[in-house]
């Protein structure tokens, strides 16, 4: 059960707290146990209509024709909505904060990009009538090539998933096809590391599966307003999104909610509110739009699957001297929140460890799968899993206890992070010490004496190193994906001044007109060649006891593996262990 370890960081905390550490009854608990808590669906309206959507059975197809005549005549049907009925039929969630381009229709126009994409909405007197009428909608599809793999999607010539982003990637800062992080010189550090290990990690999409499915009820109020009972986790986010899509002033929408039957991130996408409001507007009646369980499981956005490559340079004494990460978020067919997930992921790298050379390229790739979205630490959880499995592998390679290995490499207060911020309030060492104690896992006396408060920020640990830059991954320039270093920022550089010069010469993928966008133009200093100068890793405040070798790992029998990962080029003189290339050699 809950245990507050007040002995740790005692002087950093005021202990005269009125709530934390005390048992206080929640104000919503009486409603929960009496069944009186009102969720969005627990509201009765006279004359309430029910909305159901017809969804694409194809992952990618052109819509040749849609015939709604029979459905519109079916018993109880009040209205059938198509794309043209949606006032602003293209949106991206983060457009409310001016991030990203509108790319997703509420109802598909002339193409569908994932299995389950809404095409037609039917509003009827009863759910049964709406369900029966769905079967009467005739849609003629011309199936198109689809792409389901993030790396395949980024190859030139891959089927275009999302016309707004024709090269199948989200565009960052109007300049790069991925989110970048550069700190120090990983290549130089790899060259002088004792060992280099590279592994590939593949996650699956995860469905939130809230017990309450996504849904909302919209009803006309007086004065041309509409009341909306919503499952939304971010009520005003849903309000803003609905107002934009149905093109009304936001003060005409009265959203009621905040009581959510399980969300976990899956109720931020405004999956139902815009069409429910539109339905109430066009019928003048209350309209309820609720996903059934199958829709929730198959078409409610999941946590996006990620593919992560981690390459680490490791010294025999256990110090990690370089970490390079290449990651691909599977956004599915539309952006939703994947663009933000990649930023969160990048901000989290390289994990809670001090590593003097870090480089990462985090891509958001569009595939013909259900769009993915927020879920409990999205952007972080999967990469943390990959990083920690990698840490265990590194510990094994260094012949170190995995707990001691983490203590050795942990961030301490005052250490410089690759984002050029000093670490503060670090606590990994203490977490490891407490976890080891709880698990009766023996750690050395020296390991027990370590503290996040001491040893950090010493010498090189507080410095921003000279950092090698590259122009890799410019928007519309597939040829730049493998390009080499362009320049080296002097040590201590924390910011690059923006400039207004265009970055992209020529047409985007040969299709569009040249785009003039502002770029970040660093001063043209001379490119430093990648001199194979010996890299001397800085010392750690903690020298672990050597010689504790865990038992060798016995892999379980492998299931039939998917297509092998594409090979990447790496040249260095060190011993390499790689799951990408096979076994140790």
């Amino acid at each position: 059960m809950l245990e507050l370890r007040k002995d740790l960081f005692a002087d950093e905390r005021d202990d005269n707290l009125n709530v934390i550490g005390k048992g206080i009854q929640r104000q919503d608990m009486p409603g929960h146990v009496t069944g009186l808590t009102r969720y969005f669906d627990d509201h009765a309206f006279d004359g309430m209509l029910h909305l159901k959507v017809v969804r694409s059975p194809h992952a990618s197809a052109r819509i040749r024709s849609i015939d709604i005549a029979a459905a519109a005549r079916a018993p109880g049907v009040k209205r059938v909505l198509r794309a043209a009925d949606v006032p602003v039929n293209k949106n991206t969630l983060l457009s409310l904060i001016n991030f990203g381009k509108d790319d997703e229709p509420s109802l598909a126009v002339d193409q569908v990009h994932y299995k389950g994409e809404p095409v037609v909405a039917i509003i009827a007197e009863t759910e049964a009538q709406a369900l029966a009428a769905k079967k009467l909608v005739r849609i003629d599809y011309e199936p198109m090539p689809a792409v389901f793999d993030v790396e395949e999607a980024l190859k030139p010539g891959a089927p275009v998933v999302n016309e707004t982003y024709p090269a199948n990637y989200f565009e960052y800062h109007e300049r790069f096809d991925h989110q970048k992080l550069r700190f120090g010189d990983v290549e130089r550090a790899f060259a002088s590391a004792d060992m280099v290990l590279e592994h590939r990690y593949q996650m699956s999409p995860i469905e939130h599966a809230p017990t309450e499915t996504n849904g909302s009820i919209a009803a006309p109020e007086q004065n041309g307003r509409f009341v909306v009972h919503s499952c939304a986790q971010g009520l005003f986010f849903a309000l803003g999104t609905a107002a934009k899509i149905v093109a009304v002033e936001s003060n005409r929408l009265h959203f009621i909610g905040g009581t959510v039957g399980g969300g976990f991130g899956g109720k931020v996408d405004s999956l139902t509110e815009p069409l429910a409001v539109l339905g109430a507007m066009v019928t003048g009646r209350p309209v309820r739009f609720v996903l059934d369980r199958e829709e929730e499981m198959l078409y409610g956005s999941p946590r996006g699957a990620e593919r992560i490559y981690i390459k680490d340079g490791l010294m025999r004494d256990g110090r990690i001297v370089a970490r390079q990460i290449r990651s691909y978020f599977d956004a599915g067919a539309y952006t939703r929140l994947s663009s933000y997930a990649a930023i969160k992921c990048t901000a989290h790298l390289p994990g809670p460890y001090w590593i003097p050379n870090v480089s990462s390229d985090v891509h958001v790739a569009y595939t013909n799968r259900c769009p993915s979205t927020a879920m409990r630490g999205f952007g972080i959880t999967a990469v943390d899993f990959a990083l920690e499995v990698q840490m265990d592998r590194l510990a094994e390679a260094a012949g170190m206890d995995p707990m001691e290995f983490r203590i050795l490499n942990a961030y301490r207060d005052g250490d410089m992070k690759p984002h050029r911020r000093k670490a503060s309030n670090t606590a990994l060492i203490e977490c490891v010490q407490v976890a080891a104690g709880k698990a009766n896992w023996p750690i050395s006396e020296q390991g027990k004496r370590q503290s996040s408060l001491t040893g950090g920020g010493a010498g090189e640990r507080a410095q921003i190193p000279a950092t090698v830059l590259d122009a890799r991954g410019q928007i519309g320039r597939p040829d730049t994906r493998q390009s080499g270093p362009t320049q080296t920022l002097p040590a201590g550089t924390s910011r690059i001044a923006p400039s207004k010069q265009p970055v992209m010469e020529g047409a985007r993928d040969g299709r569009a007109a040249p785009t003039q966008v502002p770029r970040y133009e660093p001063a043209r200093t001379a490119t430093q060649p990648l001199a194979p100068a010996a890299y001397a890793p800085p010392p750690s405040p903690y020298q672990p006891v050597a010689g504790r070798q865990p038992p060798p790992y016995q892999p379980p029998p492998a299931p039939p593996s998917p297509a092998p990962a594409p090979a990447t080029q790496t040249q260095h003189g060190a011993v390499r262990f790689s799951s990408v290339f096979g076994r140790r050699r």
Partner: protein, 160 residues
């Protein structure tokens, strides 16, 4: 299609409704009778949030035809408290923090009540079995099991 009259006893009170022929008990309870304690969670019998007692036994109201409930006793979580006085299960759910989002709570309480009505002193395994058809996606099973065990054997249990 003509509506069909149905009468049954809901939480001790005779109620009547006009229903569509294939209408589920869940929809009749919620939309015609205003009892919102049973929830829609899956419509498949997988989640248990619509659990009600029919003649004292737990049933899934989303898979039960209303017309099949004619003349029967239906009980929901709405009928557990006696005015302001909570059922011991409700009190212990509060005490043990056995609800997070609260959406599974009415079904959990109903499933637990079916167990305690028949077996006032269950083992932990019997409690777990009794709620094995009810999903709590906020992953609060431990406090729920603790609350049910705490309510077991309490004097207020057998209150009609």
């Amino acid at each position: 299609m003509a509506k069909i009259p149905v009468q049954f006893r809901l939480n001790g009170t005779d109620r009547a409704a006009f229903v569509d022929a294939p209408e589920t008990l869940l929809n009749t309870l919620r939309r015609s009778l205003g009892d919102f304690a049973p929830k829609y969670g899956c419509g498949q019998g997988a989640c248990g949030v619509c659990t009600v007692l029919i003649d004292g036994e737990p049933h899934l109201s989303c898979l039960t035809l209303s017309v099949a409930c004619e003349g029967r006793q239906v009980e929901t979580a709405s009928g557990m408290a006696d005015g302001p006085e909570l059922h011991p299960l409700q009190a212990q759910f509060m005490e043990h923090f056995a609800a997070q989002c609260g959406f599974c709570t009415p079904g959990m309480l109903t499933a637990a009540r079916a167990l305690l009505d028949r077996n006032p002193n269950p083992t932990r395994d019997e409690v777990i079995e009794a709620i094995s058809g009810n999903i709590c996606r906020c992953t609060g099973y431990e406090p729920i099991v603790a609350a049910i065990l705490a309510a077991a054997g309490s004097p207020g249990l057998r209150r009609a």
